[in-house]
């Protein structure tokens, strides 16, 4: 919501203005387009976005597990 909610890809080549350009995250795109989810094209696109988000969170969970692994030896993590 705060990021602008505009389907626009900020371009780093724009220089300093890049940091002020609006964008839309995958999660907000899914929420904004939820009303049209019954349309086949939007349906598949939104599920692809969700799969990408899920994959990212799985990778992050795995990374957290790998970071904690050496700490378990010293009982610094459970």
């Amino acid at each position: 919501m705060v990021s602008g909610g505009v389907s626009f890809a900020p371009n780093p080549a724009d220089g300093t203005i890049f940091w002020f350009e609006p964008f839309e995250s995958l999660a907000s795109t899914i929420i904004r387009s939820a009303e049209s989810i019954s349309t086949p094209a939007i349906h598949s696109t939104l599920y692809s976005f969700a799969a990408l988000l899920l994959f990212s969170s799985l990778v992050l969970s795995l990374a957290a597990y790998l970071v904690r692994l050496p700490l378990r030896r010293y009982q610094l993590s459970n």
């Binding site: 919501m1 909610g5 999660a27 899914i30 929420i31 939820a34 989810i37 939104l46 599920y47 969700a50 988000l53 899920l54 969170s57 799985l58 992050l60 969970s61 957290a64 597990y65 459970n78």
Partner: protein
């Protein structure tokens, strides 16, 4: 007659002189300053947020908004209050906790008290961590795909031809997943910290493992369960994505049928979060003052929950595992 010996005074703790931070290395000083700034920054952000919404709440939150039904209107004056979102928030919290508390507590009990085979317990722990890390919008879209199936049609709002996958029941089932990790973690930590002697004393009295869990372990960790439940409830009432996708975010509660309870559970509605979202300039409601009022009420609820968590932790003195740490 010899004088009675004076009572032994407890040995005094010797505190060493605190090392001046100006003797630290420059790199350590920088890290210390950055840590201090980060902590202060968070305090300032939290205070500013609470103060801002306290001012906005005092400005726009009126008692009549709490008892009026919302309605679609082009003017803010005619858009009513937010009684339905309040009812929706309460109902969703009840359904979510009714599902999450038994699941979270029994899972933690099995992992800590039984946990065999070990690999399966590790898989369960990892699964809970994955659920905790999964974005709520992914859970929501998964729930939508699941409950749109004809098999689950009786659970959701729909027509004879098919199901929409949206209802208080379907939303409550999926939203319980965001509360389970909090409840599981709090219960598990409570179980691990409960003294082993407590269980051994119960076994020595002839109690079985099941009876020990039911009569000794569970009462000992009830505060941890309550804390986890309050934290989980905070996550449920603060969720937006799942409510928009699985509850329909309708302005008023719409029941599926006239059947008293089932019609409501299969109906659609909204919560304070989705009401604030829709009423804000980013939504379609175009009622920013109502959005501020709903957000202030939501923040008040969350603050009350946090206060409640603190109170729960203090009721009846320190918990058993805290006593053990104190050496009592």
């Amino acid at each position: 007659m010899a004088d009675a010996a004076p009572p032994l005074a407890p040995p005094r703790r010797r505190h060493g002189r605190r090392e001046s931070i100006w003797r630290w290395r420059r790199g350590d000083l920088v890290i210390f300053a950055l840590s201090w700034l980060a902590g202060m920054g968070l305090c300032i952000i939290a205070t500013a947020l609470v103060l801002f919404f306290a001012v906005k709440g005092a400005q726009y939150l009126r008692p009549d908004l709490l008892v009026q039904h919302p309605s679609a209107s082009v003017s803010q004056a005619g858009s009513g209050g937010f009684l339905d979102p309040i009812e929706g928030t309460v109902l969703l919290g009840v359904i979510g906790l009714a599902i999450a508390v038994p699941l979270g507590v029994t899972t933690a009990l099995w992992v800590v008290e039984f946990g065999r085979p070990r690999w399966l317990a590790r898989v369960v722990e990892s699964t809970v961590e994955i659920i905790a890390g999964t974005p709520d919008v992914v859970l929501a879209i998964f729930g939508l795909a699941l409950f749109e199936l004809g098999l689950f049609a009786p659970l959701s709002f729909g027509q004879p031809g098919g199901a929409f996958g949206r209802s208080f029941l379907t939303c409550g089932i999926i939203v319980s997943a965001v509360a389970i990790p909090s409840i599981y973690t709090a219960t598990r930590n409570g179980l691990i910290a409960t003294p082993r002697q407590l269980r051994e004393a119960s076994y020595a009295l002839g109690k079985t493992k099941t009876a020990t869990i039911r009569r000794v372990v569970l009462p000992a960790i009830r505060r941890d369960v309550a804390t986890g439940s309050a934290l989980g409830l905070g996550r449920i009432i603060g969720d937006t994505a799942i409510v928009i996708l699985l509850l329909g975010a309708t302005l008023q509660i719409q029941t599926q049928s006239n059947t008293p309870v089932l019609g409501l559970l299969r109906g659609t509605g909204s919560t304070l979060t989705t009401y604030a979202f829709n009423a804000s300039p980013a939504g379609d409601g175009n009622a920013p003052t109502k959005a501020y009022a709903a957000a202030a009420l939501l923040l008040l609820l969350v603050l009350l929950l946090n206060w409640g968590v603190g109170r729960i932790g203090r009721i009846g003195g320190p918990p058993l595992h805290a006593e053990r740490r104190l050496g009592a």
